[in-house]
């Protein structure tokens, strides 16, 4: 092989190595060797958890960018998100750190925001929301486990006893042991009752075994249903009446809910009270009539006089009647 061929092969080999290095760089650095496409947004969090440079940014599950870098900014941690060009992020979209796996794989998830909201521009800050991570969840589960264990211990001690006082099972055992004779009697009675029921004895036994009694019971129930239906109609009517009364309709409604009527009634009552007061004081004709004896005596005297006059008129009646007729005719 001559030197020229050797040189060419070495050169080609070296260029191949350079090209492969460049391809690897482009692949692993998301094509950021020469250009930075898209725009950046800032997302501030209290804790970035396992979020690191190169992690994905997804909107509604679709990858729209990546974490360019993470940094501390005062009392909070910031993630700089590089968003792909052409992707619009609504100004009210909220960023959260989402756990994609149990081994520390996280990404930043963005919601869609509202449709009419303006889009964020380069360097703008996103709204963020804190979500519990696996450590928080595990701590909560640990607390829950402790509570559960405490509850189970309480149940166990109450059921089995705690050494000082007997548990539920010991109490039941003692109760059964001490009352075994009574329990036996009770069981015997129960057996007698069930035997009677089975044989159709007694009211309940007949009810269970006698079809006639069953039919009568059904008829009674039907009557009760009918009565209940009537009562329902009555209640409905009553409700209608009450509704009308509440609406101020009818005499009773006007009486209860019409303010004008109420005012008139008040005036009437007041007038009645005035009249009764006057009567009580003996004012007016009726008052005097009721309270003044002289009027009564006067009337009595007058009536006596009238009685006598009528008696007198009875004697001269025919003459007078003729006189009256003549004066009419002539």
């Amino acid at each position: 092989m001559n030197t020229a061929q050797q040189t060419a092969r070495v050169g080609l080999f070296f260029l191949l190595g350079l090209a492969l290095t460049w391809v690897t760089w482009e692949t692993l650095s998301d094509g950021k060797l020469f250009k930075q496409t898209g725009y950046t947004l800032i997302a501030g969090f209290e804790n970035l958890k396992e979020l690191k440079q190169g992690d994905e940014v997804r909107m509604a599950g679709v990858k729209i960018g990546s974490i360019e870098k993470t940094r501390l900014a005062g009392r909070r941690a910031e993630a700089v998100l590089r968003i792909d060009p052409g992707v619009k992020i609504a100004s009210d979209a909220t960023a959260t750190i989402v756990m994609a796996g149990l081994i520390g794989t996280n990404y930043v998830g963005l919601d869609l925001g509202t449709p009419g909201a303006p889009s964020l521009v380069d360097g703008a800050e996103l709204r963020t929301k804190i979500t519990p991570d696996i450590n928080t969840i595990m701590a909560e589960i640990g607390n829950l486990g402790q509570k559960l264990e405490g509850a189970l211990n309480s149940i166990t001690s109450s059921v089995s006893g705690d050494g000082k006082s007997p548990g539920l099972f010991q109490k039941i055992d003692l109760l059964v042991t001490q009352n075994s004779e009574k329990i036996g009697t009770t069981m015997s009675n129960l057996q007698d009752i069930t035997t009677k029921l089975k044989d159709g004895e007694g009211t309940l036994g007949k009810l269970i075994n006698d079809p006639k009694l069953h039919d009568e019971l059904l008829a009674t129930v039907a009557e009760i249903k009918s009565a209940a239906a009537d009562a329902k109609v009555f209640v409905t009517d009553t409700q209608g009446i009450i509704a009308q009364v509440k609406a101020g309709k009818g005499t009773l409604g006007a009486l209860l809910y019409d303010e004008e009527s109420a005012a008139s009634i008040k005036v009437t009552v007041k007038n009645l009270r005035d009249v009764s007061d006057k009567i009580a004081r003996g004012e007016g004709t009726l008052g005097k009539l009721l309270n003044d004896d002289s009027l009564y005596l006067g009337v009595q005297s007058t009536l006596k006089k009238a009685d006598r006059a009528i008696d007198g008129l009875g004697d001269s009646g025919p003459i007078t009647a003729v006189g009256v007729a003549a004066s009419v005719l002539f």
């Binding site: 030197t3 050797q6 070495v10 080999f13 070296f14 190595g17 350079l18 690897t24 190169g54 794989t105």
Partner: protein, 250 residues
């Protein structure tokens, strides 16, 4: 004690050779033909064996990872495991070991035979320093070729892992998922770290092999002993350096 003295002597002669070679660094453009020849030997002719070995190393790594990770449902991370393992560790070490076995042994054998047959003495007599003519082009060539070999070895290893992940029934991961996992957990810094390690390993291997070759004494039988010594010393140096370089680059 004598062994320790021999080790220290070998270390010292290697450093001395390096210093001498650096002194003649300015003469490299005039040794272009030798430089190209060494690049050809170190890089171009080593590529096939690097490719074969890296492909199967990547395949075996994916196979073992798939077998192990299947037990706890983490098969989707095979790409990350193979990618990171190859880029940071296996690629540079395998390429350096191959270099020691194939190129290092050849360099030691060549220089040892030149030394034994007094060709080196002849060069010295003609006022041509061996460090300038025999060592400098090799060191320069390995500096240029090692990253190229390492990056090709990495990519072929990743490819081998992807092939096994797709076609082995118990793993059955599509190449898209394999490379997505590889990209998700890797940065170019990992690859760059591996290339730097390969550069250091290759340089040390060639320096050791040149040093041992030029320090050969005695007859032709010593040539074989020098080659064995050079390969063993290179392998030990690679593994010892690997720990310290990895620690330093973390």
């Amino acid at each position: 004690m004598k062994q320790l003295t021999n080790i220290l002597e070998g270390f010292g002669s290697a450093v001395q050779l390096l210093v001498q070679s650096c002194r003649y660094a300015g003469t490299l453009p005039r040794q272009r033909a030798r430089f190209i020849e060494q690049c050809y030997l170190i890089g171009y002719t080593t590529l096939p064996i690097v490719a074969i070995l890296c492909f199967f190393m990547g395949s075996v790594l994916a196979l073992q990872a798939g077998y192990s990770m299947e037990n706890f449902g983490a098969k989707q991370f095979i790409g990350s495991l193979v990618g990171l393992s190859f880029a940071r560790e296996l690629g540079p070490v395998i390429v350096a070991i191959l270099l020691a076995g194939r190129v290092g042994s050849a360099i030691t054998a060549e220089l040892a035979s030149m030394k034994v047959y007094q060709e080196v003495d002849a060069l010295v007599t003609m006022n041509i320093p061996p460090a300038r003519m025999l060592v400098l082009p090799r060191l320069a060539a390995v500096l240029v070729m090692m990253p190229v070999l390492a990056i090709i070895g990495n990519l072929i290893g990743w490819f081998g892992g992807a092939v096994v992940s797709k076609y082995v029934q118990s793993i059955a991961i599509e190449p898209e998922a394999y490379f997505a996992a590889l990209r998700r957990y890797m940065k170019f810094k990992d690859v760059g770290t591996g290339l730097m390690k390969a550069e250091i390993f290759g340089f040390v291997v060639v320096l050791i092999c040149c040093s041992i070759g030029l320090s050969t004494r005695g007859g032709p039988r010593e040539i074989g002993a020098s080659v064995t010594r050079a390969v063993v010393a290179s392998l030990i140096s690679i593994l010892v350096l690997d720990y310290f370089v990895t620690k330093a680059l973390m």
